[in-house]
Amino acid sequence: MSEPAVPLHQALGLTDEELVAIEARLGRAPNDLELAMFSVMWSEHCSYKSSRPLLRTLPTGGPDVVAGPGENAGVQRIGGGLAVAFKIESHNHPSAVEPYQGAATGVGGILRDIFAMGARPIAVLDALRFGDPGDPRTRHLVNGVVAGVGGYGNCVGVPTVGGELVFDPSYGGNPLVNVMAIGIVREDQIMRAAAPGPGNLVVLYGSATGRDGIGGASVLASATFGAQDPSKRPAVQVGDPFAEKLLIEATLEIVERGLAVGIQDLGAAGITCGVSETADRAGTGIIVDLDAIPRREPGMAPFEVLISESQERMVAIVRPERRADVAEVCARWGLPCAVIGRVTADGDVTVVEGGLDGEGRPLPGARELARVPAAALTSDAIVFERLAAPPPRRRPAPAPGVRPEPAELLPERGMDPGAVLVGLLGSPNLASRRWVYEQYDHHVQTNTVAGPGRGAAVLRVKGTRQALVATTDGDQAVSALDPYLGAALSVAEATRNVSVTGARPLGVTNCLNYGDPTRPEAFWQLREAVRGLGDACRALGIPVTGGNVSLYNEAPGSAIAPTPEIGVVGLADDVDRLVGPAFGAADDVVLLAGWAAPGLGGSAYADLAGGGDDDPPPLDLAREAALQGLLRAAIGAGLVAAAQDVSRGGLAVALAEMAIWGGRAGHFRVAVAGAPAVALFGEAPSRALLAARPDAVTPLLALAAEHGVPLADIGTTGGDRLLVELVGEGATGAAEERGARVADAIDLDLGDLRHAWEQGLPQALGGEG
């Protein structure tokens, strides 16, 4: 530090332009401590300085919405005086350098967002993305991340009930770890992360403050990290799930007994963030007594104490007369607890060394180390209008009159569709995730009606007949081709996963994982994604109640496929009316609802067999809404025995999964209009499979007509062979004319399908299992 090669603000990651903006807000030059506070608060991670203008365009309102974006988590009413809180967040960069702790603290962080709202966390979902599973480094990351998610979630006693695991080479240098959490809160106990009432006490409770993740917020979230240089590696935070469990119980007790007027968790940017955001939300200020902050280590500098990201800490805003009660609760749960400041009326975050008196005024001889308007750190932080530019077209334009023919892919390659199906079921992205979720406690709290493994998770709400249904989905493959469509498809798929159980999607939370926003192409991808997200949510009538933006997901020389991760929570009024995706009885009629569409671009089939230059299938949001309406109506009317959406791997994979899960196969006929590959493995959205008793078929067809959704009988369940015959023009003539071999029917033993599906992931990861 003796001879800084660069000015301090630059060393802290602030640009010259940002320094000017800081000086304008202060009316003077900041001192070093203030500069450090700005550097963490104006990081992309805390300030959303590139994405804020985009996020403003999202639909956030709705009759059930109690808290929307801007609070720690979105909250929506579910009736009976209860509400559900949920939110998704990324921990990508920390997980890249220390997979276990990075993932563990990711779980810890999102849980704190939930119980900071006063809600008891009831579920976690983890959406994970890695590079090539054959790469030893990927295996190291997968093992560490999965163990970290489990290690933390299992210990705190919150079930991990769902998520995703996707392999794609673009994540090789930059894995994605997105974690969603859900909680339940009584509507009259919802907490806000605000610091109202000058004179109120600022109470810090939970673990002591150490040098964890100093600069983590700015360095980790705002700069491309070069893994090669260990000196640049930021200090890694270590999680203590045991402390978090105590923090949950103490916080919920504080909430239930009405002991706090505001609660905020401490995450990125630590105490600086906690006090400036709570003050700004309430239009107040906070004076911080630096000496009162319990430390884990001696000799910490003021900036270290103020921006430390030590885990498992919370701030409560407490009326002076409740101080003893809060202290008593913390003591009973074995948590350190200290009054570290006061709410003031001046709108400033002030940091004092040397102590405060009983009224919250600096003691004689105390020194003021920093004074910054709370708004300047948060709501009035700098915002950038970034440049956006679409990438140069990567696909060669087809020669005039010659359209690439996806129709030919399957027959020309001489592939037996049954072998393709087995290959898809055993491929790393479609095979059973049991290896992952067996490491997660998915039953604790005894609400799990349907856990991980078969579509959306279903959790009953104790004391009611209701159930919550939750899922995450993100389509990076289509996003790489068309970020607008990819985001819209992700919303469509996630909501469809909820509707296909019979539940009504309540709201969306989202985690946008994109590249360096100063690159016009990366910013364009983000902008398109937000547009797609907004359009889809508006069309489906669902609010976006929260989310998270993770930028700079680039390792040297490679950017990730743009990844819009969508979390949806749905509500069912009667848990007994929900249906699952497994075939049940024999001789059920299986119907396909929805619209066929061409396009193999971005599909799992294209990944496996080579997709050529095909487009992704189009999405019609009005049709999607109609399909989901039909699903809910049909299931609600008790006409459906099992239902599953058609997504990755297409119709053939959806049928095979229903058969594997039900232990019962069947005999089906699939209409092929253009190409067998599209009919069997195409991923056209807005489709679902329904199994029904024969006597339910007539009313189902009537209902489908009412909703304007095509519904076709494609076969019946029974036996232990999966037989899928191809019928229609495209099944024979068209392909034959082109000289290709005609695709045979699929005819496979259920046991072989199950084997491929069960062994796929352990095999891909190196034969463990």
Binding site: N154, C155, F242, K245, E438, Q439, V444, T448
Partner: protein
């Protein structure tokens, strides 16, 4: 009059509420017993629930063993009171020496959460009397340290004295005696999923009967185990040898260092 069954709450317990809920379904009145108190509140039986008491740091269950409530539990057990440790509760009982053996890290080294089948070895214990027949019971396990271990002499004694309470079994009921059997989720010796102490009044069980108490959640096979406990506790509370926590405590003093 419903039977009061204590559920111990250690810091880090996370199945305490689930256990209380399921005990309610089994007809008991659950009573929370706080780890820092040696007052057992006159309960008729005690359940040590699952979770990660004191974070399970060092070794699962070891720190919990030294808490004040465990001294009271040891006294209660010594006087014949019924104690059931589930999962982490089993680990605590083993560390405290109230049941024999130890629970090692799972052989696969990973936490394992899945449904297993277990079968009772005996149907005449306070923990199995309402199970009715020797059949596979489906319920989840969820633990990282659940591989049952005891030295050969202890194992032989457990088998000889009928103190193996439950074994992991294949769906058809075949015991998964081999630690590497797929139906043996953690590498337990002789497929042991649960054991009792010599007097038969203290039991440890790795799987979670409280998670299998409602058909809605996939299985109700755990309920008969909890009902057995409640029924046996009710008889004892009403019958000949009444054991209450307070009275045992009054005469207690010799349980410290009672391990092994």
């Amino acid at each position: 009059m419903s039977v009061r069954v204590g559920v111990v709450v250690f810091p880090g317990s996370n199945c305490d509420r689930d256990t209380a809920w399921a005990l309610g379904l089994a007809g008991a009145e659950p009573v929370e017993l706080w780890h820092e108190s040696a007052d057992l509140g006159g309960v008729a039986a005690i359940v040590l629930p699952g979770g990660f008491a004191y974070g399970d740091y060092l070794r699962a269950g070891v720190i919990a063993r030294f808490s004040p409530v465990m001294r009271a539990v040891a006294g209660f057990a010594a006087a014949g009171g019924l104690v059931l440790g589930i999962c982490n509760g089993f680990q605590v009982l083993a560390e405290a020496g109230l049941v024999p053996g130890a629970l090692l890290r799972n052989r696969g080294l990973r936490f394992v959460c899945r449904e297993v089948a277990i079968a009772p070895e005996r149907l005449d214990t306070p923990f199995t009397r309402l199970v009715g027949e020797r059949r596979p019971l489906r319920m989840p396990v969820a633990h990282g340290e659940g591989a049952y271990y005891a030295d050969p002499a202890t194992l032989a004694a457990l088998e000889r004295d009928g103190r193996v309470l439950f074994r992991y079994v294949a769906p058809d009921g075949t015991p998964a005696l081999d630690p590497d059997d797929r139906a043996n989720p953690n590498g337990s010796l002789r497929g042991i999923a649960g054991v009792t102490n010599a007097a038969g009044n203290v039991a440890g069980l790795m799987p979670h009967p409280e998670r299998a108490a409602e058909a809605l959640l996939g299985s109700a096979d755990g309920l008969p185990i909890l009902r057995s406990l409640v029924a046996a506790a009710g008889e004892r509370a009403a019958g000949a040898f009444v054991v209450t926590g307070r009275r045992v405590l009054a005469g207690d003093g010799g349980v410290e260092g009672g391990r092994r």
